[in-house]
């Protein structure tokens, strides 16, 4: 449904997107992951036809964006980054306007507006001016306008940023439901969001795709070691020495007051570590497996990339 080939975008002399290619198949939910300024928004703006690429080709809903942008846009629902809305309109009149603009059949507008208001839980606010709504409700209006014309492709640019946790959960649930029959590209810089909602992830940094894989394989992307953090009451030198002797431990480092133990992915020596500490007569204060955070993955992937160059 979405096909991007050798896409490059310069803003003046600044390179924002550097020769990226990817596909999103029909019915897939793909997470577009990257730090701020990685080129996520630029790519999405090109996919929705707001910006023209400097080079490369883009197909959305099987239309070439450079030739048939208008037809393609009919099949796209878009949630832009900052969710800009007309503050002088009520929710109802705005959704009415959006549905007309997106070519919804005249007779369907009224019922469809009520449907999306229902889906996005906006019933109580339907006649309130958008300018008077809180950020969370504005975000719901943004989602409502994106789905009002029942588009086959949804492009959501950081839809869960700046809203409260309950709404984040609601939005994710909605995305999952919508994703059953639609193609969704969702950008975020929160790793857990991707693992909850997406089938596949594309990681982008400094305008380049640095990794692309299914969620299940995400951790192994990081040619995987796993890390365990523990806090022990005992002589630092000796504790570290003892930890190194445990089977399956690759490396031990001490960052006061924590010991970081690294071991190969797929192995879990926590039980052995606990036994070893207790048997040596020291006190184990805490022991936890450290999740690879997005920052870690980036750091790892980007440094790997640099060293390989």
């Amino acid at each position: 449904m979405i096909r991007v080939e050798n896409l490059t975008k310069y803003y003046g002399k600044r390179l924002a997107v550097d020769n990226i290619s990817f596909n999103v198949e029909r019915g897939e939910i793909v997470g577009f992951l990257g730090p701020n300024g990685a080129g996520k928004t630029t790519t999405m703006r090109i996919l929705t036809g707001f910006l023209a690429p400097t080079q490369g080709e883009v197909w959305v809903a099987d239309y070439d964006m450079s030739q048939h942008s208008l037809e393609a846009r009919q099949h796209i629902g878009y949630f832009p980054e900052a969710m800009p809305l007309y503050s002088d309109m009520t929710v109802r009149s705005y959704l009415d306007f959006s549905s007309r603009l997106r070519g919804l059949d005249k007779n369907r507008i009224k019922t469809r507006v009520e449907e999306v208001v229902d889906i996005c839980h906006l019933e109580e606010y339907i006649d309130v001016l958008i300018g008077k709504l809180s950020k969370g409700f504005r975000q719901r209006v943004g989602v409502a306008q994106a789905i009002i014309h029942e588009p086959g492709v949804l492009i959501l640019d950081e839809p869960t940023i700046g809203i409260d946790p309950i709404q984040v959960a609601m939005t994710r649930q909605l995305v999952k439901e919508l994703g059953k029959e639609r193609t969704i590209l969702l950008s975020t810089h929160i790793l857990s969001e991707v693992s909850v909602t997406c089938d596949r992830v594309i990681i982008i940094n400094e305008g380049r795709i640095i990794a692309e894989d299914r969620i299940e394989n995400l951790s192994s992307l990081v040619s995987g070691s796993r890390r365990i953090r523990l806090e022990v009451e005992g002589p630092a030198e000796k504790v570290a020495e003892r930890l190194r002797q445990i089977e399956g431990v690759l490396q031990v480092s001490y960052e006061d007051p924590h010991y970081i133990v690294e071991c190969p992915a797929g192995q879990d020596p926590r039980g052995k570590i606990m036994q070893a500490i207790v048997q040596s007569g020291w006190n184990l204060l805490s022991l936890e497996s450290m999740e690879m955070s997005l920052e870690d993955i980036f750091l790892k992937l980007t440094t790997e990339e640099k060293t390989s160059q």
Partner: protein, 236 residues
């Protein structure tokens, strides 16, 4: 056509929801009403020339103010992004917004109809010059709105948009005066490009086709430039 109507109606309603249109209309009515009531033409000719002469200049100013937000605000607030990613042509956006502002201008001119009605009450005005005078104001107004819309497409700053629009409009208006200083042939040619060149005829009740074509051309030209400028933002 449907998209144009949708955009024009939204724009028109948006004017009514903000104080801008009321302030502009109010100022226009107060000032033109004042000039109409003190002008000798009102009493000696039972004509609306007192209103038309200054109303035309005032229109240049107010059109710049009326149109300044049309695109600059959308650019600044970011709402342009949703408008341009909807399945709508740039030309439909521009024409829709133009018609929305033209609607306000028409309403504003309609509110001045009581000037000729007063004349009719107290005397026997010649309706020819009144009709052509209104035609002139309408044509001049639509040209001014097109210039204003173009200026608004250039920037995300409304003040800059208004100043640029006013600059272009007054330059085009006073071009006719500069023409007097130039060698005759050259001056005459330049005079044809002035916004003020065709207005006196219309005020007198003379319909000059060249004048009508001129105002329409300015309107179309600047709408076209606005479309190009809007489409250009995709290539930033």
């Amino acid at each position: 056509m449907r998209n144009i109507t949708t955009i024009a109606l939204r724009e028109f309603k948006s004017y009514l929801a903000s104080p801008m249109a009321y302030v502009v209309t109010g100022i226009f009515l107060v000032l033109t009403g004042f000039l109409f009531s003190i002008s000798s033409a009102t009493y000696f000719e039972t004509s609306i020339r007192g209103f038309l002469g200054t109303g035309s200049l005032l229109l240049l100013l107010l059109a710049s103010v009326l149109t300044m937000r049309l695109l600059a605000e959308e650019r600044k607030m970011g709402t342009l992004e949703l408008l341009l990613t909807a399945p709508v042509r740039g030309s439909e956006v521009i024409v829709g917004k133009f018609l929305g502002s033209l609607g306000i201008l028409t309403a504003m001119l309609a509110l001045t109809f009581y000037y000729p009605i007063i004349l009719m009450w107290f005397g026997d005005p010649d309706w020819g010059p009144i009709a052509t005078g209104y035609l002139g104001l309408f044509l001049l107004g639509s040209a001014s709105l097109a210039v204003g819309l173009f200026a608004s497409s250039l920037t995300s700053n409304q003040i800059v948009a208004a100043v640029v629009a006013g600059g272009i409009l007054f330059a085009l208006w006073f071009l006719g005066m500069a023409a007097d200083l130039l060698p005759e042939a050259l001056g005459e040619v330049i005079g044809y490009f002035s916004l003020s060149h065709y207005f006196p005829d219309l005020m007198r009740g003379v319909i000059d086709t060249r004048g009508i074509i001129y105002y329409l051309s300015i309107t179309v030209l600047f709408l076209f430039l606005a479309i190009r400028s809007l489409e250009n933002s995709r290539w930033s």
